[in-house]
């Protein structure tokens, strides 16, 4: 809308005849680039000219409102007659009946209102200009005077202590919201915890979730084992530890192994990699036995387990860190050490 001037917009102009209005606007406002096409000829609706059509539209509106009434009554009936109960089937029936009742109750009102407005209410074209947003000078002056009076009456200029108390209380109040918000982000700001996991020398690899230790001889070629460290459930925060320490163990034909991240980190074709994706930390666990590819379900990063978990596709930047493993005297798989680099996605100070 042109803003070069705003006079003449305050009062509505009756616009029954489009042509004269157009002429007036053009003469009035030279900035208008486009010709105002005005209104087309008014075309009466069938309900305006045929009494039967009018009657029919009214009946339709009544029918739509009736659907809404029936929907509400159906909802109330279903609420008492069809309790959710204990079985899935009864919950399903209850939910369905309540949902349909609610849907018809609201839809009936909405459709009836729109149909009423479209077919029965007057449909003469109207144009209403915007009002100026600025209040009249008198109103503005009165508002300023009222504020000034208030300030004088409260004597805030003279009562310095009062003013200070007011400002202090207002300034301090946001702390009641901010303190819990910041405080509950986490009491622990020690980022270095991300850099190590609970894996350590001679810690046994055990099966998730049962915690059974794994004998190397039990892992057949093509097997996948989801691994947690021994003693995970006894730690102070098992879920925190698990989130960092989960490992995927795969046994390949040793001839298929193209590379490893460290010399002697695997045992007879058994390789163990962190299950936390180096992209944004989803658990990478879709293993394709034939291709040796490990897929992340979130963004399809693909790692080649036979080739040091190198990224072969997707947004991940780094290979999954490899856990160096070996066997103990009894033949159980154990870790040689913790991971040699921080697991999971990048974070500040990751390599510092």
């Amino acid at each position: 809308m042109s803003t070069t001037h705003d006079h003449g917009h305050d009062e509505l102009e009756p616009r029954d005849t489009a042509g004269s209005d157009l002429a007036l606007r053009q003469g009035d406002d030279a900035v208008d680039k486009f010709e105002n096409p005005g209104f087309g000829p008014h075309r009466p609706r069938r309900s305006d000219v045929e009494p039967e059509a009018n009657k029919r539209a009214e009946r339709q509106v009544v029918a739509l409102f009736t659907i809404s009434i029936l929907g509400t009554l159906g909802f109330i009936t279903a609420y008492f007659a069809l309790p959710p109960g204990e079985t899935i089937a009864s919950m399903r029936v209850s939910n369905l009946a309540l949902g349909l009742g609610l849907a018809f109750a609201l839809l009936g009102i909405g459709l009836a209102a729109v149909h009423w407005a479209k077919s029965l209410m007057n449909d003469h074209e109207k144009a209403e200009d915007r009002h100026a947003q600025r209040s009249s000078d008198q109103t503005r002056a009165e508002a300023v005077a009222a504020l000034k009076d208030g300030a004088q009456d409260s004597a805030i200029g003279r009562r310095g202590v009062l003013k200070g108390a007011l400002v202090s209380s207002l300034a301090l109040f946001p702390l009641t919201i901010a303190l819990p918000l910041i405080g509950e982000v986490g009491e622990d700001w020690n980022v270095s915890k991300f850099k190590r996991t609970m894996w350590a020398r001679n810690k046994k690899l055990t099966i998730d979730p049962t915690g059974r230790p794994i004998k190397a001889s039990d892992v057949t070629i093509g097997s996948v084992v989801h691994v947690i460290p021994e003693g995970l459930h006894e730690t102070e925060a098992p879920l925190d530890e698990k989130a960092k320490a989960v490992v995927l163990l795969v046994r390949l034909d040793p001839r298929d192994i193209k590379s490893e991240q460290g010399e002697g980190w695997s045992y007879d074709g058994i390789v163990a990699f962190s299950k936390i994706c180096t992209h944004v930390g989803c658990p990478v666990a879709l293993y394709e036995q034939h291709t040796h590819h490990l897929l992340c379900p979130c963004h399809q990063s693909t790692f080649d387990v036979a080739d040091g978990a190198k990224v072969v596709f997707g947004p991940a930047k780094r290979p999954l860190p490899q856990l160096p493993i070996t066997v103990d005297d009894e033949g159980y798989l154990v870790a040689q050490s913790d991971f040699h680099e921080p697991i999971g996605p990048s974070f500040w100070e990751r390599l510092r």
Binding site: S47, S119, I214, V219, H226, L295, P297
Partner: protein
């Protein structure tokens, strides 16, 4: 075509379009919905090896070789066990119909007796997982709660949290498990068919396998919330919301904005 163009502005056009979209959704679902064949497990028997070998030479040796040792492209069957044969042949995946990203399940080509004979022959080539007994795969004897914990750790990443199946790379997919028989579920875990990894008895004990079967037995039925849409999560729900939900909203907007006749 001209008639079609002329009717584009008909006020019934949105309704017709919506109807077409609904029909298309239904047709797509019917075509794309995963299907699965099933067959009853065979009881192991001793004197079928000879029959099995004849069947093998006639039906399988073309690819797997007369001595079943396979080639570079075809796996050796020595040591895969009777369970692998019962699964692959019983679900119709073998004999393979054509080369593709993975062998598809289809109606089984052999009857139970023939499958048992083939399994007996392959089992005689080397030790491997056996066909499980009825008791080993009875869902009623398993613990579905423990099965759920195990399924979510070991299976859900490919097969979806309730076993509805999911996509893998390059046309491969993890199939829906709802219609798979308990014996075939057990055999798949024990043998790791195609790209599925192996879950041997040390990784998942026979009892744990039965717990998983018990959990899967309870999936794929009515959902308390109404239509499950295949339990495929955002894919089918998104399609539904975009096509049907937005279609209805657009139709309502067009109706509200249109002049009454």
């Amino acid at each position: 075509m001209k008639a079609l163009a002329a009717r584009r502005h008909d006020r019934r056009a949105p309704a017709v379009l919506l109807l077409l979209a609904l029909l298309l959704t239904g047709a797509l679902y019917a075509v794309l919905a995963p299907t699965s064949a099933d067959a009853a497990p065979a009881a192991p028997s001793a004197d079928q090896v000879e029959t099995g070998e004849k069947l093998f030479q006639a039906n399988c040796a073309t690819c797997h070789g007369p001595d079943a040792t396979g080639t570079d492209a075809v796996p050796s069957l020595v040591g895969v066990g009777a369970a692998a044969v019962d699964f692959q042949v019983g679900t119709g995946r073998m004999p393979m119909q054509m080369n593709g990203p993975q062998a598809q399940a289809k109606p089984a080509q052999f009857d139970e007796e023939q499958i048992a004979a083939l399994a007996a022959f392959v089992a005689s080539l080397g030790p491997g997982p056996a066909v499980p007994s009825d008791e080993q795969v009875d869902p009623a004897l398993g613990d579905p709660a423990n099965g759920m914990a195990l399924f979510r750790t070991n299976c859900a990443m490919c097969h979806n949290a309730v076993g509805a199946g999911g996509a893998l790379s390059q046309g491969k997919f993890a199939p829906n498990l709802w219609e798979t028989t308990p014996a075939h579920l057990y055999e798949a875990m024990a043998t790791g068919p195609q790209n599925m990894p192996v879950f041997n008895d040390a990784t998942l004990t026979p009892d744990e396998k039965r717990d998983i079967i018990a959990y899967l037995d309870l999936q794929g039925e009515d959902a308390p919330g109404g239509i499950g849409l295949g339990s495929l999560g955002p894919v089918s729900e998104g399609l539904w919301a975009w096509v049907v939900g937005m279609g209805l909203l657009i139709a309502a907007a067009v109706w509200i904005g249109a002049r009454s006749s």
